[in-house]
Structures are given as C-alpha cells and as structure tokens.
Assembly symmetry: C2
Homo-oligomer: 209 residues x 2
C-alpha cells in the first residue's frame, strides 16, 4: 500500500475498476423487477434481529409506514424498544410497534399461555400484512413461534402471498422452515464464527440488548 | 398444534421448559465479564450493515454516545443516512456520523484518490476509537478498505486494542481479515441462501437502500 506505484500499475488498476464497474452496471440493468420483497434472517449467529431493526430504520428514513411485531420478549427492556418506542415521537404516526405479552417460552413454562400469546401477536401481524398503508413489516423472532408450532405455517404463507405487492416483510429467528425460505426473496443465514458469550462476556447493552 | 393436549403432555412441556430455563440461567450466570466488545459482520449475504445500524439504534436507545464512519458510499442517499442524519435531531448531540467522500471504488477508478479518501475516513474513525466519551462505534464497510489495502490492518488492530475498555465497536464488510476475526469478540458470517437481486429484483428502498 505504501510502495510508490508506477503509471503502469495505476493504469492496470483503472482498467480493472472499469471492467468491474461495467459488470456491476450490467447486473443492475438486468434487475428490473420493482416490488415488495420478503427477507428472512435465520441461523444461529448474531445479527438476525439487529439487521431487521436496521432495515426498519432505513424504511422510516424513506418515509415508509412501518409495523413491528416482536414474537419473543426478553428479560429486560431492549435498546430497540427504548429507541423506536420511546425516542420515536418524530415518527410515531408512521410506526406501529407490538410486543408479545409473555417472556421467553422457557420462562413461562406454560404451553397453552405461550400459544395464546403467539396467536394474539400473529393476529396483529396479519392485520399489518393485510394493510395497504403498511409499507414495511418486521416480524421479529416469528421463526421461533413457527418452529414450536405455536402459529401455523400455512397461515403465514397465505398472508405473505396475499399482502400488498409493494409491501416489504422481514422475518427473523433461528430455524426458518423450508417452505418459508422457498417463499422468501432474500434469505441470509447468520453463521456463528465466534461469540463473546461463550468466552464468558455478559450480554451487552447496545449489542445484544 | 390444534390437537387437544393431555395433562401429561402439558406436564412434559413444563418439565422441558424448566430444564431449558435452568440451562439458560446457568449459562447466563457463567457469563460474568462486563466490558466493551468488538463485533464483526462479514460474509457475502445480506444483513451485515443493517445489523450494524440495528445495534446503533439499540445503543442510542440506551443513551449511549455513538459514532459512525461509512467507508463506502453508494450511488444514492440511503435510508440509514436519511434516518440517522436527518431525522436524528432528538439525538444529534449523541451521534457523530461521517460518510467517506467518494463513491464505490469501481466508480472512481482512481486508486490514489480512493486511498486518500479511505485514510481520511480512518482518521475520523481513529479519533472515535480514542475517545473516552464514545460508547459505540460503527465502522461500516471497513473490511472492504482493509481487503483492498487502502488502510493498514495493523493500525486498526492497534486502535482496537488501545480503545476505552467499555467501548463497543462494530465492523462490517465482506472478507474480514483473519487477524481481525482473531481480535474480535463476536463474529458472524452472513451467508447467502438466496438473494432477490439474482432473481432480477431491483435493490429496494428500506431493504438494501
């Protein structure tokens, strides 16, 4: 990086960059379909929910009307709660935010109550997915409720298929069912390379909380 | 899910949930170290930057002072720009936001100018990493500048090692160097399962932009 570069090296760099630009331009020109997408973030690694909240911020930045349903509630008030619900006065008219009533399922230890909570949260989500005025819907940790069988996958697939054509939906959580991956447009698997928790570091505000 | 459950099934569920809760409680009890962490989001899949912006929202939610440096600037104004820079009056005193001057490197086609831009952005980042008052630093797409050799990896590793002990740092971008992965606390690889772009769908506001 620090070595002096010859005019030749500069020229080679310019040519490579031009070819790359042409390639990217061609790819962009080929992507002509313009519609709402379904994004699924799954896998065991960190970043599934935080990526969903990052896309929520992007969507609010573009002036979209947004809905959020959190299907799992943690032990403590999270930063995204504090940020989007408390600081969010500036965009309160454009953001509906619903947090499922109960804690993690291994905290309630009551399967019937878990199912009732999950289905109540799904009813709110289904309302957003059917709403023409809703541009972006984040269904945080929905996959957990699907894997546990608390919400029927068919209901979710039907609601996604019937939603307004320009509406974006982001679904997060481990273990996304194969049929949901099939139905989605963009799917990322967040893979754990390493995690601070395994090295004895507590969950950190701003990072996990 | 819809079949009637016997009292036995309920009891088995409750026992499983109790064991799971005990396991999670033990793991949480073991994670006693409380300090700033370095998080790296890498891989080719979607979600690296959006996860970083989600953690920024969490951090702002907790009242943290935050810094952002974007090492690559796209073709258009992004939702995160609009959201955090324009709507962010409520927390302007707690957020420093720096966007590198030039576009994608294959758009400028001028290696010397790219290096100068990257190094100027790094100087801003280094100032944040040295700042005791800065609780959270997002270095978006820094990995790209490292892979291209526009910024020396040693500089970055030294600045991370010397930062305030409670400061969190999130670094995003494809191709995270091995020594950076080694230095980080939490590393996720975002793997592409599928991407809408490959199916001919344009980059969407609120999702990619």
């Amino acid at each position: 990086m620090d070595s002096p570069e010859t005019a030749d090296a500069q020229e080679r760099h310019r040519e490579r960059a031009q070819r790359k630009k042409a390639l990217v331009d061609r790819r962009i020109a080929r992507a002509t379909i313009d519609r709402g997408v379904v994004v699924v973030n799954t896998g065991n690694g960190k970043g599934k929910s935080s990526s969903g909240f990052g896309m929520l911020a992007r969507s609010l930045g573009h002036g979209f009307h947004c809905g959020v349903v959190q299907f799992i509630k943690g032990r403590s008030t999270t930063g995204e709660d504090l940020f989007f619900r408390t600081l969010g006065d500036a965009f309160a008219d454009r953001l509906r935010y619903h947090v499922m009533g109960e804690g993690f399922t291994w905290e309630t230890q009551d399967r019937d109550r878990d199912i009732a909570s999950a289905q109540a949260a799904w009813a709110v989500a289904a309302g957003m997915l059917a709403d023409e005025a809703c541009d972006f819907v984040l269904l945080d940790e929905l996959n957990i409720a699907l894997v546990k069988g608390y919400i029927a996958l068919e209901q979710v697939l039907e609601a996604l298929a019937a939603r307004p054509p320009r509406q974006h939906v982001v679904i997060t959580g481990r273990g996304a069912p194969a049929a949901l991956v099939e139905a989605a447009d963009t799917v990322s698997e967040m893979r754990v390379v390493k995690h601070a928790f395994k090295a004895g570091i507590k969950a950190q505000k701003g990072i996990e909380l």
